[in-house]
Symmetry: C2
Subunit: 323 residues, 2 copies
DNA sequence: CTGAAAGCGCTAACAC
DNA sequence: GTGTTAGCGCTTTCAG
């Protein structure tokens, strides 16, 4: 910048003015500065600018894994909203490890991001308190965090309730539930929805038909149930990865899965799902965040997004004894 | 930092020393500083540090769309390598628009990223020249850029050749090629591979069996071919999205697709594909980049990753006249 | 309309 | 061991 000033025969501040489109510079001076900038290949150092301005025009996004289509949908939506606000996105995958989440968040904070969108891996967010107090707004997405901040979730319990009720309406009385580890908020919520659906239908809850754990183990869990005393005639799967794991076992049960996925309609039978909308989730979280970044105060918002049942065949299969 | 120094009764530099784990500070002073840091909730401002140090410990990644599994695989791999080098990733989706690619890259540069990984949307990268000269290394991934920089691609032509030859070996003499827009490097390369495979097999190239264009139009293009004079008995699809589009048409042709995808094995018949490895692509690009960031000079590297044919059924169907 | 000086938060270089 | 000084590249006063 100094070089440009010298080359154009003006003061530093004048170059700054031109670069920032500030008014009050004569057209000819502007011209001279612009040509010097061109000639020297000058580009403003954003880091220095940030140091003065305080705002970095960047936000931090912590998700579980970019390579998972659910989270990459969120990512893309966040990115688009951020770009609309002239902001960049620093993102990182926590891999469901609270420690890594924490490290990523703190790293982002030390780079003075203007705000954070976090899909919480852990439930303890005390480490965030000082940052929030320091004025860095945060929004929790997909799951609530352990802090009173803006939160966007899906109607997990309601969605599971709808899906399980759908199976029950098609004549099933023994519906298995295969969910992710119970420590994950969404998994626990969906299990609640399952239990409530059984209760609402006046069906007993058989604990041998419930299995919570990582997707890799879902196939084996189902096999155990099927070889048990009173096997299920239908299964509700608690997320997309479990749905796929169960499909790979090649069973022929009625089935409804939480999360839509590409090609669900091309399988035979088509897979009936309870769909969430990751893009909407990301968009909403980002908009909430930028509202805060722009200075909005007020109590923490809690947004719950609806789910949608998409019937494609697998959820409409009747139990063997009811043709 | 100044506050911490005052609170601990030491000079600024001493705080800096403690924060940076520099040697030469007595244990008790360290203790005093640490407790002051704790008390005041101090966290170093990375922007200021960057301004001094010159390195930002961040890299920029421009891909086409994070929401596409191929690119999100790349993303994740880049992120992991970057984290291993203590670096963060700024990422953005170009949406295949050269202008947006350019804007993202220049924005990243003005934030002084240490390096760039670019999946080129356009082919003209003159705008990058000054940045490269200014010492910001760049690596092109998936497609070569219009500049002499490190590049990682897949063996597009070879992969297509293998896939098409596979169909020919199963008795097909009329193999259609449905590729993405010819302006996209990978699409053009794969078309070359297709043509070469026909030539190598002594088969004539029938231009009515070739269609290049956006995935949305692939279904219609195939329908046109099938209702033509001499319809194809097999089809080679030029990328994952086209493969899916073609599957949705519900045809019953023999088929091999470029790009593997989840559930390809669960469809009936299973979909035979030529698989690339996005994770390996991202990893290689990132490693190449960090080698440059760490000071390696020397001529631009060109890495070509192999592809792999995975037979699952659809590519082994024989033509109707050869049972 | 333009410029000079101060300082954002930090670290490198050199005292003490 | 510790402190002082200068300056990274920019913007924000406040004077011309």
């Amino acid at each position: 910048m100094k070089d440009v000033a010298v080359a154009a025969g003006v003061a530093l501040k004048t170059v700054s003015r031109v670069v920032n489109d500030e008014r009050g510079v004569s057209p000819e001076t502007t011209e001279r500065v612009l040509s010097a900038i061109q000639r020297l290949g000058y580009r403003r150092n954003e880091s220095a600018r940030v140091l003065r301005a305080g705002r970095t025009a960047s936000i931090g996004l912590v998700i579980e894994d970019v390579a998972d289509p659910f989270y990459s949908g969120i990512s893309r939506a966040v990115e688009d909203v951020a770009l609309g606000h002239g902001s960049l996105v620093l993102s990182g995958s926590s891999g469901e490890q609270p420690l890594r989440e924490r490290e990523l968040v703190l790293t982002f904070c030390s780079r003075r991001v203007d705000g954070l969108i976090i899909v919480p891996a852990g439930s303890d967010h005390d480490y965030l308190r000082p940052e929030l107090d320091a004025g860095i707004p945060a929004v929790f997405a997909d799951r609530p965090g352990g802090l009173d901040a803006d939160t966007v979730t899906c109607d997990n319990a309601g969605g599971a309730h709808t899906g399980v009720t759908h199976l029950i309406r098609h004549g099933h009385r023994r519906v298995a539930f295969l969910g992710d580890s119970a420590s994950i908020f969404t998994a626990a919520e969906r299990l609640h929805g399952y239990r409530r659906a059984l209760r609402d239908a006046g069906l007993p809850a058989d604990e041998t038909l419930i299995s919570m754990g990582p997707p890799e183990r879902a196939g084996a869990a189902l096999a155990r149930m099927l070889s048990g005393q009173a096997p299920p005639t239908a299964v509700f799967t608690g997320n997309g990865r479990i749905t796929v794991a169960v499909l790979r076992t090649g069973h022929r049960l009625a089935m409804v899965g939480f999360d839509d996925f590409e090609l669900a309609d091309l399988l035979v039978p088509g897979v009936t799902v309870v769909a969430q909308d990751p893009v909407e989730l990301g968009r909403t979280a980002a908009e909430l965040l930028f509202r805060r970044v722009l200075g909005e105060t007020g109590p923490a918002a809690r947004v719950e997004l609806p789910t949608r049942l998409i019937a494609r065949g697998s959820g409409e299969l009747r139990p063997p004894d009811l043709p």
